[in-house]
Structures are given as structure tokens and as C-alpha cells.
Subunit: 731 residues, 2 copies
């Protein structure tokens, strides 16, 4: 750990002497009495606040219309599981509405439901449906129990003063202390873990601690159960984010963790403002939120790297919550306001009010316009990073993402130098995401499925080269977790020639990998084009598999393949290959071209794959006895050698509408890609096509340097450039 950081931590510890909790009035977690008055007034003026308030009331009207039920615990994804989730959501809403409207029916709802939990909870053992997880009691995992407690803390805070002392005493004894002890004592390991599960548990116990005025719970939550800052909320803020705010588990999990991070931060801020939690680590919470939003596709979906759903997006309640709280604390921001317009709801807080007010003041909301951006990874920012190149605006924007950071803990994948290409409203060269049918009971209770380990995490499930049909670090999590890829260079200063480069050495014994990806905008082409130059070097001979996953329909290829029409076999037996059907295979004559259709647009990948390459056309679904996998196609280019450079262009082109029965430009403009040279001096790649298109891409293969001069002679021609790269011919 950096000395500077240690000092910050020590200062923080000193600041919170055991009885440092200020606020003794309620509510003081989610909002204060003053906030409540402002929200009440604002709802009359700002349509979005009114709509959100009305939606909350409608949800509660529906809750009032149905019998209250606090069932015996059950399986993940089953009725009881879903019911307890619904209950805590309703209690939180009811608490908030009680404060805002003053209508006692909402307070009664919270009390009546807590009475039921006060009867049930003390009778519960550890939940018997837990598998590998730390168990809860109401839920199969402690994580869900923490979710319950975070929401219910807010509800309890809102009705605290309205309840009779005997009721409070009963709820605190039977439920809240019981549950807090379960989370922070029985499950202390999970509680102290530097992981989103730890954050949830800390937030839960810390928040109910504030409501109950219990310093012990609060300090455990802030500094860990040992109070030595090896666990706890602040430690998580130190270690789970890079200095840029990138969260090591990736976008899907930061989305999830945004809720406890921001809920607890808000509670801390209201109760211990002297901690200046929103400024902690130079505003890491703000950076974390912005990094999360900047890793979304132009359609608002979080890029599904690592274990991740394919459809989680910025409208998720966690994102709404974090955005509104951040907006309230850090002040107006055009991109946040644009995202808020997409969310089209606000939370019932001071921040939500500010968002509603600023949107009401505008004729049309601002457009979200995230820029190309590189994020460092690792707590000190030295463990590689994540590069994002963007072009265009709105729904038709293009985004190219390359992953070269840390493994990212238990939800990480073996996917160094993996990329995702998003274009025309679709994830065109996709990440498979997780293998999980979340919350679907018949699919193993909605848990992660075996194919998540055996396929989704494996290298071949990603768009990065697989060496010897083996996963990076031989698929060993402990080994992989200790390594990271390395940033090489990143330059988005020229909107027509954007480039990012990274290296990953040692993920395969004796193999060094360097990938440089460019997003080029040429006026002769309708859309930005990806140029991908993937260089591998090794003393020994290896098999290199260069995969491109896609969706939609294969349209054409120049490869004369042999299709497996009456019988097909799995492509291998392990490292994910056992999940791929070998649909066809054929030899590549120097350049492989493949065109597919995805949505309304065609995509052609043209790859110089070297001599003796084979194209394999595959499809997920083999080795999948329970039909857990989603059936999707892929193309793999396989070569054998020591040093190998794959140079590809991915070109979006044309238009297709089945409804309109219209097709245009089903064949792309790019015709050829050639690796002219690729050695220690540098790599030179030439791309040619129709309309006189001729690009030459020159790359530095040595240590990154913006000033070093390079000189490569190949085919009787001399190529000279200064710095890490040079691209000629883009008009």
C-alpha cells in the first residue's frame, strides 16, 4: 500500500472515536427532515419527481390490495425468495412515503410487516438451501440478507419515531441485532472480505447501526470487525477501485455494488459528516460511478465483461440511486443528466430532486456523450487497464473495448486482451457474459451454472488468442489473480485515428502477446472500422486460435470449407472447447473473409492469418447436457508457429431490413489485409479496398515511447515513423 494512502486511513480512524455518531434524530439515513420537506414541495413542480412519487404510491397501493405474507424461507428464485425481496422493497417505499406524505397507513405497513418478521426471524436456522455461499437465514445466501437489511434499515429509520418503544425494542432484539450479528459475527469472514459481498454486509450492519445508535456495529462496518482497517467499508473503497474509479470485478458488479456503496455513503454523510466520505480517496465514489457509466454501451447496457448479465443497464435501480445521490453531492453534470433522462425516474431524495429540477428546466435533455477513455486497473493503477474507444453519438455510436487489467476476483474471466465491438445498436463481436439464468428456479435455483466455469470463464469464450487450445494461466484462478496485463499506449486525440495497445506476457509459458486495436474513421466508409493487430512471439512452436464470436447469420466467406452436415463433433475436450460444435473447417488462402448479418447491418472481418491457417466455424452448445448455454456462432482462425501476427479489419457495411425486403452493400469495401512486416523493430500492416482505399498502419513493438524513431524495411520499401504508431491513408 502507498504511504499516502495509509496516512489517509489513519486520519480517518482517528476522526471516528467510538462515540462519534452525531445524529440522534430520525430520519437520518436516506434523507433528513429538511430533505423531506424539499421533496414534498418539489413534487408539485418537477414532473419527474411527481411521476416517481406516484409510481411509489402505486406500488404501495398494489401492496395494500394483497395479503401481507412473510413466508418460511425457500430456494433461490422460488416464491419465498422473491416474496422476501418484494417485502423489503415495499417496506423501504412505505417508510419513505410515510415521511413524505405523513400518512400513517405507510408506517402501519412497515410495523405490521416487521411484527411478522419479529415472529419468524428468531426461529430460523442457517438457510438449508445455501450451496457454496455464506448462508443467510431468510435467504440462501447472506448477500440477500444484507440486501434485506439495507432496505429495511431505511424503512425502520423512517418510522422510528412513530413506533412505540416496546415495538422498537422487539424489532431490534428479534430482527435487527439478530441479523446484524449473523452478518458481522457468524459470517465475519464474508463481512470483512474485500468484495461486493463485504460491501453489502458492511452497509447493512452500518446502516442499522446508525438507526439503533449502536457505535459497535457502525465501527465494525467502517473499519472491519478487527477495527484495524483490514476489512470494512473504507478499506473496500481503497482496494476495490483503481485510482481512476474502475472497479476490479467489472461493470456488472460495480452496478450491483453501487447501491451499498452509495446507500452507506449517504448514511455516513448524514450521520458522520466529519468523515467527508464523498471526498474520500479524492472522490473515489464519484470516480467509481463515472467509470461504471463509461463502461456502458451506447444503448445503456453495461459491457458484460467477467461474470455478467447481457442486459443489465443504466435503468437498474442501483444506477438510478447512485446517480441521483452523486448528482446531489457533486453537483450538476450534463452526462449524468442525460443518463437520468434515459432512466426516467428519480429516487425520493435531495439528489433525485435536483435531477428532476434540472431536467424540468430543459426543453430536451442533454445527450449522453462519453468520450474515449482508458482506465487503469488495480488499487494503485499499475495492474493494466481497460481501454474504450468511441466514435459518433447517440444510438448509432460505435464502441470498442479492450480488457487488459486484473483477473477481477471470483467473478473474473481468463480473458486478457479480449475485446468487444459495439456498433449499430448491437454488441456485434460480443462477450458471452455469464452462464446463468438468474433467479430461474429450475436452472439450479438461478445460481451460476457449471458451464459458467467450464465455458464462460474460459479464454476461448472470448475474442482473444488461445494458445495450444489451453486457457490463460492454464485456467488456474489463484495463479491468474496474481498477474495482470499491461498498458502499452492509448491515444484518442485524433477522432479519425484512435488507438489502444496492451501486452499480456506470461499467461502462456514463453509466449508474449501484444494487441493493438484501432478505430478508424474514413470518409469513404459509412461507419468506423476496427483494425486489430495481434502479435504473438515465442521461441517454441504453438497452436494459435484467433476467435471472433458473432451473432446473427453467416452470410458469406471466401474460405472453401468442408461443412459437417450429417454429423458434428465437439471441437475439443477441455478449456471450453468441449462446448463448441465444429460445424465446418477449411484452409485459408492467406486472407480469410467472413461476412455476417446482425440486425440491420452487415459485418465483414478480413484477416491476414499467415500461411497454413485453418478457419473453423463453430457454435456453442456441445457438452451442455442441461441446455444451459445459448446457441451462438463463432469463427476461429487456427495457425501453428512461434511468432505470429494476426491482422484484421472488422468493417460494418450495408443495410438489411427483412420487413422492407431491402438489402444494400452486402459486400464490404475492404478487400485485403497484409502483414508487410512484424518483428522487433515494428509491425507494418497494409489494408486495401475499393474507392482507392489504402491504409498503412505502423506500430512500435518495443517499449512504449512517444518520441522514439522507427524504421522498417520490407519488400524493398522503407517505412519510417516516430512514436508508438502511425497510420497513413485515412481520409
Amino acid at each position: 500500500m502507498k504511504p499516502r494512502l495509509l496516512i489517509v486511513l489513519l486520519v480517518a480512524m482517528v476522526a471516528v472515536s467510538p462515540s462519534g455518531i452525531q445524529a440522534q434524530q430520525h430520519p437520518s439515513l436516506f434523507f433528513t427532515a429538511r430533505d423531506v420537506a424539499a421533496i414534498r414541495a418539489g413534487a408539485a413542480k418537477y414532473p419527474l419527481m411527481k411521476a416517481s412519487l406516484d409510481a411509489a404510491k402505486a406500488t404501495m397501493d398494489s401492496a395494500f390490495a394483497h395479503p401481507m405474507d412473510v413466508p418460511q424461507p425457500g430456494e433461490a428464485g422460488g416464491y419465498a425468495h422473491e416474496r422476501h425481496k418484494q417485502n423489503y422493497r415495499e417496506m423501504q417505499l412505505a417508510g419513505e412515503l410515510f415521511q413524505i406524505t405523513g400518512d400513517a397507513k405507510y408506517a402501519r405497513f412497515v410495523r405490521d410487516m416487521l411484527e411478522k418478521y419479529a415472529v419468524l426471524y428468531p426461529t430460523l436456522p442457517a438457510n438449508p438451501y445455501a450451496k457454496d455461499q455464506a448462508p443467510g437465514k431468510l435467504f440462501h445466501q447472506a448477500l440477500n440478507e444484507a440486501n434485506w437489511l439495507v432496505a429495511t434499515s431505511i424503512a425502520y429509520d423512517c418510522v422510528y419515531d412513530w413506533l412505540k418503544p416496546a415495538e422498537r425494542a422487539r424489532f431490534e432484539k428479534n430482527i435487527f441485532r439478530n441479523m446484524s450479528d449473523w452478518l458481522s459475527v457468524n459470517q465475519a469472514k464474508e463481512f470483512d472480505r474485500i468484495h461486493n459481498h463485504g460491501t453489502w454486509a458492511d452497509a447493512a450492519v452500518g446502516m442499522i447501526g446508525y438507526v439503533m445508535h449502536d457505535t459497535t456495529y457502525v465501527n465494525n462496518a467502517l473499519y472491519g470487525t478487527k477495527r484495524d482497517h483490514t476489512g470494512g467499508f473504507l478499506r473496500q473503497l481503497d482496494l476495490l477501485f483503481s485510482p481512476d474509479g474502475y472497479y476490479m470485478e467489472g461493470p456488472y458488479y460495480i452496478r450491483y455494488a453501487l447501491m451499498p456503496f452509495f446507500q452507506f455513503a449517504e448514511a455516513i454523510n448524514n450521520n458522520q459528516p466529519e468523515l467527508h466520505i464523498y471526498d474520500y480517496r479524492e472522490g473515489i465514489l464519484k470516480k467509481g460511478l463515472f467509470a461504471a457509466l463509461q463502461t456502458t454501451f451506447p444503448n445503456g447496457v453495461y459491457a458484460p465483461i467477467n461474470d455478467a448479465s447481457r442486459s443489465m443497464d443504466v435503468t437498474s435501480p442501483e444506477t438510478v440511486l447512485a446517480l441521483d445521490l452523486a448528482y446531489g453531492h457533486y453537483g450538476p453534470d450534463s452526462n449524468l443528466l442525460g443518463e437520468a433522462a434515459i432512466q426516467n425516474e428519480v429516487i425520493l431524495t435531495r439528489g433525485g430532486l435536483a435531477v428532476a429540477r434540472d431536467l424540468a428546466a430543459r426543453q430536451t435533455p442533454p445527450k449522453v456523450a462519453w468520450k474515449s477513455r482508458e482506465f487503469t486497473d488495480g488499487p494503485d493503477g499499475k495492474d493494466g487497464g481497460l481501454g474504450i474507444l468511441r466514435s459518433g453519438a447517440g444510438a448509432d455510436a460505435t464502441m470498442l473495448l479492450m480488457k487488459y487489467g486484473v483477473h477481477g476476483q471470483g467473478h473474473g474471466h481468463f480473458d486478457k486482451l479480449h475485446f468487444i465491438f459495439y456498433d449499430g445498436g448491437n454488441e456485434v463481436v460480443p462477450d458471452y457474459g455469464f452462464s446463468r439464468w438468474i433467479n430461474i428456479e429450475p436452472k439450479d435455483g438461478g445460481r451460476y451454472l457449471p458451464e459458467n466455469d467450464s465455458y464462460a470463464k474460459q479464454t476461448i469464450a472470448h475474442n482473444t488468442v488461445v494458445v495450444d487450445e489451453t486457457t490463460q494461466s492454464a485456467g488456474n484462478y489463484q495463479v491468474d489473480e496474481k498477474k495482470s496485463a499491461q498498458r502499452d499506449f492509448f491515444d484518442a486525440s485524433n477522432p479519425n485515428v484512435q488507438v489502444m495497445s496492451a501486452r499480456a506476457d506470461g499467461f502462456y509459458d514463453g509466449v508474449r502477446m501484444q494487441r493493438t486495436m484501432l478505430l478508424l474513421k474514413d470518409s469513404r466508409l459509412p461507419h468506423p472500422v476496427v483494425v486489430d493487430i495481434y502479435r504473438l512471439t515465442s521461441q517454441a512452436q504453438h497452436t494459435y486460435d484467433y476467435p471472433i464470436h458473432f451473432r446473427g447469420q453467416l452470410i458469406a466467406t471466401n474460405v472453401k470449407y468442408k461443412p459437417n452436415t450429417t454429423e458434428q463433433k465437439a471441437l475439443g475436450a477441455r478449456f471450453g472447447y468441449q462446448h463448441i460444435w465444429n460445424e465446418a473447417e477449411g484452409p485459408v488462402d492467406s486472407v480469410a473473409r467472413l461476412t455476417w448479418l446482425d440486425g440491420h447491418r452487415y459485418y465483414t472481418v478480413t484477416t491476414a492469418a499467415g500461411s497454413g491457417a485453418q478457419m473453423i466455424l463453430g457454435r456453442t452448445g456441445a457438452g451442455d447436457p442441461n441446455f444451459d448455454l445459448i446457441s451462438e456462432p463463432m469463427m476461429i482462425l487456427r495457425t501453428t508457429g512461434g511468432d505470429q501476427t494476426f491482422a484484421s479489419v472488422i468493417e460494418p457495411h450495408g443495410y438489411f431490413s427483412e420487413l422492407e425486403e431491402r438489402s444494400a452493400d452486402a459486400t464490404g469495401v475492404v478487400q485485403n489485409v497484409r502483414v508487410i512486416a512484424s518483428g522487433a523493430d515494428g509491425t507494418v500492416v497494409q489494408v486495401t479496398g475499393g474507392a482507392g482505399l489504402k491504409w498503412v498502419v505502423m506500430l512500435n513493438n518495443g517499449p512504449a515511447s512517444a518520441t522514439a524513431k522507427h524504421h522498417v524495411v520490407a519488400g524493398g520499401q522503407t517505412y519510417e515513423w516516430t512514436g508508438n504508431y502511425s497510420v497513413s491513408g485515412v481520409r
Copy 2:
């Protein structure tokens, strides 16, 4: 042919003595001078007319901004093909806009483009890219040439008076007569064919005939080239529709044919009103349009039976055109207005104006509310039919369609007793549609692909029983075209118990098939449920395959199957089975259950399949060397025997949202289906499930009769009912 019909025809022939063409003024095809004035005035008052007019102008602004191009002919789906299509669309719009705005730039556009065609057209031979089709010159098929001429006739009519006589003479000689002769003389067989290609050709030649005041062309178009009414437009109106207006080729092709039918009808009406074309055959044009609209799903997509696109819908220009013309002639109709609101555009005619006016007069457009309906098939209505049961309204409506009519000419499929189930916004138990990537050049020029014959047309590609792994009529088109299935009974009078039944005998030697489908609405279930009772009888032993095609993800089944995880084989070698991968197979213990997820809803099919049945889980994609097929799953229940009754329930249930990470009721309510009896006397099926659900369905297996009494004793119980069916237990 019926005597009554013959008389109508003779009367019609008499009415049109050679020089019977009235109108000598222009325009007189698409609209008249009086209509034009009304449109001009209406555009100021009715938003939809203004928007449509603005859209037309915007299209032309874009056309003016690009160089005019009349290229040498090319391949289907290629640039030249698409360009000539664009050209005729632009000429038609320009002609209309010239009339409405009076701006000569539009007339000049038409003239300048016709000048180019007048140079090109006389030089053209038969198009060399034709394959099995009657060739055009500009296009690979005469059909597209007719499309061109229909649109250009309107354009020419609009600028006729503005052109110089020499220009007209040149265009008529070089283009119009040339093309008309090609279509009606060189391709006379196609011209006289009772088929949508014939309709297009007739409309094209008839319409340009009116503009050129050439009675010969007109009469050829109306009565066939032999003038004996064995071909021609009127004969097509007689034979291509059943008396109910159902078009024998099916919804996708009537959608296409609506355009020439209505364009030509409008032209006839304007030029020879004495023909009363809109009243011909008791208003068959109106019936045809209504039948077309009533075979759409609740989302507006035409049910893709026979050769058909999966996404063609009511917003297609042909439907807009026919709807507006029909609205203008037959008067206001709430369902038409509802569909027009979905279309959100009108054509620039008197009918379009009426639609725009009536929509402008309402706060909200009326909801489309098609009812359950049976259509007869065949020109005299005696060749079976098509049954459609509907429940609910709007986007969440349910639709069950069963097909039991004629083969439907060259685009027909071998799919008697096939059904489609539409629910929750999705085609849940789907029809594969056609195997064609329409207009995509690399996919064989956008033509029908080999897999259309070898898979899409075959019986196994549909949801109907396949006997001995062989297609109906052994896949012989000529044989199948001569037969039809037969209507049995249809009763939609009780909205909670709707039923349709049909028979198909002789499609397999010695095998009689009867399928009865019910749509039941029980207050204990959230959605209507399908009950399907499929009875086969035969003296000989056969293999019966009962297929259910689905989309989305398999969630669970009660069958202990053996998955093919490392190797899989095609399910057969012919009749479509060569295109199905055998993914898994297992024995059924009396009742087979399978649950899948499609969109936000789960579906469970529960089938009593008899003893010794096997479940096969398959997926399309085998035997598909060019990746033409779409990869989709299916379930097949296979039994062997003589008499066999499959009884199934298809139950929609629960909710899933990956975005919200919410799942509910992934297991259905229906638990068991039992065939209690199924003999000559009748079939008795019992369905049981949670919430005390117990339905008994009793069916008459003899000739349909609403009054016959039935009596079946089985398992010590007596079942008695009157009429074709009885259902007990639906609450």
C-alpha cells in the same frame, strides 16, 4: 365453377366492349383531378396527410440531391436491381407530387428518368440472371418488371399532359409498349397465370393501357390474352380467393398481391366505373383485404404460413395502399382505422385522405379488435379452411391458428393440420416461414434457397404430425395440390371455451388424421391455454412424430434424456429430417413435459403421448452447407402404433426479466394430461393441475353434428355429451 359466377363473368365481358374505356383525361389511374384538389386542401387540416406528404417530399429532396442513375441490369439483390426499384418508387412519388404541388421539378424528374430508360430499354435482351423464373429485361424476373411498370404507369399518368407529344411517343414506343409486349406476349403464359405473378403482369399492362388509351392491353389484362376469361384479372378475382376472401397462397402473398389487386382496381374504377370492380364477386376485394388483416398476429405481423417472411407486417406499403383505397371505397371501419393508426402513414389518394381525416377527428385511435374467425379455402369454399381463435386485446392478445386448406400453389407447404401459437407478443410455437434471405445478394441473389424445398416446405418443419418420417403426399406437389384438408367444426361462441377441429385424410396412405384445438380461458390461470387433441387412425403400424417447434431457451423437462454432448448426428436423411440435429433423446413415462422461456414468459407443453414414446430434442442446422438455415430448437414426440391420440396442453406462465433479474412461476399449473378414451365414439381427455384444476374435454370423432348425442364409458365412468364437443371444469 358455379353457374351464378359464370353469369357474373358473362355480364362483365359484355359490359366491356372493345372501346369501353371512358376516361380520356389525366390523371385517372391513382387519383383524378378532383381528388388532387381535395388532397391539397386536406393536407392543411389532417396531420397524417401532411406528414405523409412531407415524407414524400423529403424522399424526393434526397433523390434530387443524388445523381440520377439508370444502370445496366444486374443480379437480384445487387445494386442495379435495387436502383431500378428505387427509380420506379421515386418516379411514382414525383408524379404524384407534381399533381399535388404543381411544381414542375417533379415532372422534369419523371421525364428525365424516362428519357434514360427510353435509351436503355430497347437495347436490353432477356435478363441473363433469370433462373427458374420468367425473365424480365431490367430485372431477373418478369415479376419485378411488372412492379416497375405499375409504379411508372402512375408516374406517366401524372405527367402525361405536361409532356410533349414527341416525348410521349418516344416513351410509349421505346419503353411502355416494348415492356407491355414483353409481359403480355413474350411472357403470355405468366400473364395468363392464375397466380400473383399474373396479377402483377395484368395490373401493369392494364394500367399503362389505360394511360395510353389502348383497349387491347386493357382487355388482355382484364380477360386474358385469349379474351375468353381463362386468364386475366377478373378470373384471378374468381379463383385466387375463397368466398370468404382467404387467398390461397396465404397471408404473405396476399400482402404482396394486395398492391396490384387494389392499384388495378382503382384504375379500373376510375376508367371503367361501369365494371363496378369494387363490388365484383360480392365485394371480393374488400373480403380479401379483411381476410389478410385477420390473419395477422396481434403485433401486426402476417402469420408466416407457406413461403413467407417472418417479419412482414401491416405497415408494408402494399397494406397501406389497399387499406386506404378500401377505406375510401367501402367507407369507415373501426378496425381499418386502428390498423391505419399502426401504419402511421397514408397514401396520397382520396382514401388516404379519408383515413387521415377520421384519425384527426379522434383523441385516440380505435383499438384493433379482430375476432376469432374461420375462413373457408378454395374458390368455392369447399377445400377446407383456416381457423383462428383469439383471446384478449392489444399487444397481449393470444392467437391460435390452424391450417387445413389447400396446398396453395407453388408457395404452399406440406403442412395440413399445422398450428401456430402466438402469445405475449411472440410467435411462441412458430412456423419456420421461408428459407430465403430476401434480396441479400450473396445468398443466391436473395432467391429462395435449396433449404426452402428441403426443409421449410417439409412437414417436419411444421407443428403437425409426421407419419413414418415422410412428408405429406410423399412431398409430391402435384399430388398434394389436388387435395385439401376438411373443416370439421368451429365454435368461438363461448369466449372461455373456443374450439376448432379439422381432418386430413389421405395425406398418408391409410392414415386418417383429426386435430381439435381449444383455447381455454380459466380464471385460475393468468393466460389462455391451448389444448390440442390430435387423433390418428390406421389399420397398419406407423411411426408418428409429433413436433413442437419453439424459440428461446429450454428450461426443464421431466424426461430423462440422453444428451449428445460430444457428437451429434442429423435426425434423418430426407423429408427435412436431414436438417435437424439430434441433440438428445429419451423415453417418455406416459406424460412428457417441457418448459421453455420465450421473451418474458415461460411455456410448458404437457403431452400424453402413449406408451413407449420417445422425446427427441432437435435443432435446425444439419445438412446446411451454406449456413442458410436459422438455428432453432424443437421437441419431437415419437410413437409407434396404428391408432394414436396425442393430447397436449400448452400453458403460458410466469415472468422473467433478465434486466430486472426477476423470475416468477417458472413451473406451470397444469400437471397432468390423460387420454381417457379415444375411439370411434369419441375422445375423452382429462387435464389436471394445481388449484383444483380438472378439465374434461369430450370430442365427437364421427361426422360433425351439433345435435348428436355421445356416450363413452371408460375406467368405470360414463361420459355423455351432445354435439361436437363438451368441456367441463373451466371456471
